[in-house]
């Protein structure tokens, strides 16, 4: 703009630079403000629904439905799957957490879009290849899946929700999450630093 005011026209390079600057990712919100927002969403869930937030449960429904489709007898003989499949009176995917998690995808995308943060990228430290990072991501996700099921919930359902309700198991869980992560951090530092 300043160059226009001075009466000169923008060169092509200048136009490109300005357009690029407009698409720069915006800074993240102040963590306390984002946390306040998160807490109010959780409070809304308590007041409106009488339950908290979750994430891993939705994927359990998905897995149970998948196993049920491939091997129904096997799925129904397993108490874990059977609980998610239900008694057949309604679709297991017509579930509160499934719809909530669909919303999480949409809400994240909306936020990212307005802040210019939607980018196809493999996030990794400078000392690891993309393939290496993706291998770690898969292994970490796998551990997370197992841990979340053993603990009856993940960071959303246990730490956040149970934390706010003083749930004894949730507080024990939360300490262990931080403990486990700090204990393992040294061994995977090359992935991040």
């Amino acid at each position: 703009m300043s160059s226009l005011i001075k009466g000169t026209t923008l060169s092509n390079t200048e136009v490109r630079t300005e357009a690029k600057a407009a698409r720069e990712p915006q800074p993240y919100w102040n963590p306390y403000l984002a946390g306040l927002g998160l807490g109010l969403v959780l409070l809304a869930a308590f007041v409106i629904m009488g339950r908290g937030l979750g994430a891993s449960g939705a994927f359990s429904s998905l897995v149970a439905v998948g196993v049920d489709a491939v091997a129904p007898a096997h799925a129904n003989a397993n108490d874990f799957y059977a609980e998610y499949i239900g008694d057949g009176t309604k679709s297991p995917l017509k579930d509160w957490l499934v719809f909530e998690v669909l919303g999480v995808f949409v809400g994240g995308f909306i936020s990212g879009l307005f802040a210019n943060r939607v980018t196809k990228v493999v996030e990794r430290g400078p000392n690891i290849s993309s393939a290496g990072r993706l291998t770690f991501a898969f292994i970490g996700g796998g551990l997370m899946g197992i841990g979340a099921k053993l603990a009856r919930g993940c960071t959303s359902g246990q730490a956040l929700t149970g934390g706010a309700l003083f749930n004894v198991g949730s507080w024990a869980f939360m300490m262990m999450v931080f403990g486990g992560a700090y204990a393992a951090a040294y061994f995977v530092r090359r992935q991040w630093q």
Partner: protein
């Protein structure tokens, strides 16, 4: 006493799914705003360079905790109708440890990986596939671990119940603890930044 609305029959199951979707949008929005669509930012928590995870998580916890306490104290929310996951101490301790390791190895937790995936992070998408695979492994192994899964049952129990301390006092203590934690986190971040600048 008129909340939780759903428990008082203000709307049915179908409407609850619409509400689930809207609440999810809010959840995902604030997760992304906090920077939790980025595995590097999340993992930095565990190297003390960026303690946003702690700050956001505990601000969220104390906000909802104070809110629900206040709304229950004035008689608006019946806290006994808010679902509490039953405690099975040992499996939750072991599950928490495994999950913590998965957090720093994979760079996300399930909720944050959804936000990462929807904003284009390929590591977030692969992580989600890992979560699905992990749940499948757990499901297949369930007959073997089912005894451990239901061990050390304590029922639906809260810290005020187990400690005998008044609910309000514990809310106050947790808020104090969080505020102290925030001050500590800011101090640690400054120290780490100075160390990095000096190195």
């Amino acid at each position: 006493m008129n909340a939780p609305f759903f428990k008082y029959g203000l709307f049915g199951d179908d409407v609850s799914l619409v509400i689930a979707f809207i609440i999810g949008i809010g959840f995902g929005f604030f997760l992304e705003r906090a920077g939790f669509g980025s595995s590097k930012k999340l993992a930095a928590q565990f190297y003390f360079t960026d303690l946003t995870v702690f700050k956001v998580m505990f601000t969220g916890i104390i906000t909802a905790m104070v809110g629900v306490y206040y709304l229950s104290a004035i008689g608006f929310v019946d806290l006994s109708l808010v679902y509490l996951t039953p405690t099975f101490l040992l499996p939750q301790v072991v599950g928490g440890l495994i999950l913590g390791v998965g957090f720093v190895v994979g760079g996300y937790c399930p909720g944050t990986s959804c936000v990462a995936a929807s904003t284009g992070r390929i590591d977030g998408m692969v992580y989600l596939l890992g979560v699905i695979f992990g749940i499948f492994v757990f499901g297949e192994a369930f007959p073997l671990v089912s005894n451990f899964y239901v061990s050390t049952p304590m029922g639906q129990i809260t810290l005020p119940q187990i400690s005998g301390l008044p609910y309000g006092l514990l809310v106050f203590l947790v808020v104090l603890m969080a505020l102290g934690g925030f001050a500590g986190a800011e101090w640690v971040e400054k120290k780490m930044a100075a160390k990095k600048a000096g190195a």
